[in-house]
C-alpha cells in the first residue's frame, strides 16, 4: 500500500506540472496582460515596459513559470492587477464555493444513490422507468437553463426560496443553487448506481447471502451496496473537481461571490494572476480527489491489493 501511494504521488508530479504549465502558457503567452490592464487605451510605452519589468514578463516563459510556481509553494499567488493579493481573493471566494459544493455534493450523493438503488432493485418496473425518464430529462436540460427556470419559478413566482444568495452565504440559501449545481451529476450517479446494482443483484454472492438466511437489510446494505458503489465512488471523486469548476455557471445565476465569480471577473478583465491562481488550485483539488478515490478502492474492495 505504501509503495502504491508513493507511485501514485510520483505519477501526479508530471501531470501537475503539465497541467499548470499548460494553463500558464495559455494565459500568459497568448494574452497580453499589460494591454489588458489598460483596456481599450494604448499604454504609454515607458509605463508598459516598467510593468513588464516588474512582472518579469520579458523573461523566458519557463523562467516565469518557475518563479510563479516557487511563489505558489510559499503561499504567494501573486497580486491581481488592481493590487489585491490573489491569496486574499481566494480566502474570501473559496469558503463560499466549498459550501456550495458541499451542499451540491450531499444532494448528489443522497438523492443520486437513493434513486439509483430504488431503480436498480426494481428493474423494469414503474419506479425504474420513472427514474430513467427523470434522469434523462435532467441530463438533457443544460444547467444554466435549469438554473434560470428554477430561480424564476421557485425564487420569483412561488417565492419559496430567495432568488439570489446574500453576501453571508448561509447554508439554507444554498439549497436551491445546490440543487441546480448537483442536477446533472445527480442524474449520472443515479444511472451509474442503477446499472451497478442491477448487475450485482443477480450475482452469486448475493444469492448466497440470501440463501444462508441473512436479513434483507444486511444483504442489500453490506453485500450488495459495498460492491455496487465502487464505480459510483470513482465518479463522485472525479466529479468534485467538475462541481467546483461548474459552479461558475451556478454562481453567476445566483450571484454567489465564490470561485466562479472571481474567475469570471478575472477572465473578463484578463487578470492573468487571478485566473492562473484559481485554476491551479482547482486542478490540485481535482488531482487530489482522484488520488483519494484510488486509495479508497483498497478500503472498499479487499480484492484489490496494492503491492
Amino acid at each position: 500500500m505504501g509503495r502504491y501511494v508513493i507511485r501514485r504521488l510520483l505519477q501526479m508530479v508530471p501531470v501537475f506540472i503539465g497541467t499548470t504549465f499548460l494553463i500558464f502558457v495559455m494565459v500568459y503567452a497568448l494574452g497580453d496582460p499589460v494591454a489588458a490592464m489598460f483596456g481599450d487605451r494604448t499604454p504609454d510605452p515607458a509605463t508598459a515596459a516598467q510593468i513588464r519589468e516588474s512582472l518579469h514578463l520579458d523573461d523566458p516563459l519557463w523562467s516565469q513559470y518557475l518563479q510563479y510556481m516557487a511563489g505558489i509553494f510559499r503561499g504567494d499567488f501573486g497580486t491581481a492587477f488592481n493590487g489585491t493579493p490573489v491569496a486574499e481573493l481566494m480566502g474570501s471566494a473559496f469558503p463560499n464555493t466549498i459550501k456550495l459544493t458541499l451542499v451540491a455534493f450531499a444532494i448528489e450523493v443522497v438523492v443520486g444513490v437513493g434513486l439509483g438503488i430504488v431503480a436498480g432493485m426494481r428493474r423494469g418496473r414503474l419506479a425504474d422507468t420513472g427514474v430513467l425518464v427523470f434522469t434523462l430529462l435532467v441530463i438533457s436540460i443544460p444547467t444554466f437553463v435549469t438554473g434560470y427556470l428554477l430561480q424564476y419559478f421557485i425564487g420569483v413566482k412561488l417565492a419559496w426560496a430567495a432568488p439570489a444568495v446574500s453576501s453571508d452565504v448561509a447554508f439554507g440559501e444554498l439549497l436551491l443553487p445546490g440543487i441546480v449545481l448537483a442536477g446533472v451529476s445527480l442524474a449520472y450517479v443515479a444511472r451509474l448506481t442503477r446499472t451497478s446494482i442491477a448487475e450485482n443483484i443477480r450475482s452469486d454472492y448475493v444469492r448466497t447471502a440470501t440463501a444462508k438466511g441473512l436479513p434483507r437489510r444486511r444483504v442489500v446494505g453490506v453485500h450488495l451496496l459495498r460492491n455496487s458503489l465502487i464505480p459510483v465512488i470513482t465518479f463522485l471523486g472525479t466529479d468534485i473537481g467538475a462541481l467546483m469548476g461548474g459552479a461558475i455557471v451556478t454562481e453567476r445565476i445566483f450571484n454567489i461571490q465564490g470561485v466562479g465569480y472571481q474567475l469570471y471577473q478575472g477572465i473578463l478583465r484578463q487578470n492573468a494572476p487571478t485566473v492562473v491562481g484559481f485554476v491551479t488550485i482547482l486542478v490540485v483539488v481535482f488531482l487530489a480527489a482522484n488520488l483519494i478515490v484510488d486509495l479508497l478502492y483498497a478500503v472498499l474492495d479487499p480484492r484489490i491489493r496494492y503491492a
Binding site: 497541467t19 499548460l22 494553463i23 436540460i141 443544460p142 437553463v145 461558475i248 453567476r252 477572465i267 486542478v283
Partner: protein, 306 residues
Amino acid sequence: MPEITERAPATTDGTAPAAAPEAAAAPRSLWGDAWRDLRRNPIFYLSAVLILFLVVLSIWPSLLTGTSPYACDLGRSQQGPGPGHPFGFTTQGCDVYARTVYGARASVVVGICTTLLAAVLGCVFGGLAGFFGGWWDAVLSRIGDIFFGIPVLLGGIVFLSVIKGGSIFTVVLLMAVLGWPQIARIARSAVISAQQQDYVQAARALGASTPRMLLRHIAPNALAPVIVVATIALGTYISLEATLSFLGVGLKPPTVSWGIDISSAATQIRNAPHMLLWPAGALSITVLAFIMLGDAVRDALDPKLR
C-alpha cells in the same frame, strides 16, 4: 436470475425465450446482433427521427422558415406571438422562431465535429497506449492525464477567453482537445482487453503484421465501447457549447446559437419568458435526442444488462 438459454455462438443475447428460434439460427457478429437489437428499440427510432430532423434542419433551415434570423425590427422588441411569428420576438425584435430554427446548425455541427475529432484523437492515442504498453503507455497516459486534469468547462472558459475565439472551428478544436482523454481511456482499456483474446494471440502467432493485427483484429472489437461513450458524449458536447456561448466565450454573433439567445433572454425572463423557453426547449430536445441514441446504442452493444 440467470436463465439458461440456448445461445448461438458469438451472440450475447440471453434473455427472452421468444427470441430463441431466431437466435438459434446463423451465428451473427456483434454488430449484426446490435443492429437487430436497435431495430427493436422504440427509443432508437424516436431519437433517430429527431436527429435526422435536426440534421435536415441544420442543412436547410429555410425549409421551415422563410424569415431570416437577422431580419430584426426594434419596434417589435419582446412582443409575444403573432400571426406569422408563432414564437414572438427577441429584445432586438428578431423572430424567435427563425432564430430557433437557424440555431440548430451551430449545435449539430459543433456536436458532431467535436465528437469525431475527439474520437479520432482518443482512439489513436488510447489505442497506441494500450497496444504497445510500456513507455508508450506511460507517456501517452500521462499526456492524457494532463488534459483530463483540466475540467472541460473551466479549460474552455480560460482558453477561449484568451484566444478570443468565437468561430465554430475554435470551439470544436478546444472541446476536442480537452475531451479526447475520456475516450482515450476507454479505447486503451478496450484494446488491452481485446489484445488478451485468443484470436489476437492466434493472429500474432501466425505472424500477422502490426497494422493488420490492429486494424483487422483489435479495432473492430475495441470499437464498441468507444462508440457508446462517443455517442453519449455528443449530447454533452452540445450542452457544453451552449454553456460556453451562454457565458459569452463560446460562439459569438453573428453565428446564430441557442446558447447566445438563451444568454440574452435570461436577463429578461420576467418580462418575456417566451424568449428563453423556445431556444432552451430546442436545445434540451437536441441533447435529449443524442443521449437517447447513446443509451440505445449502449444497450445494443453492451448486453451485460439484459
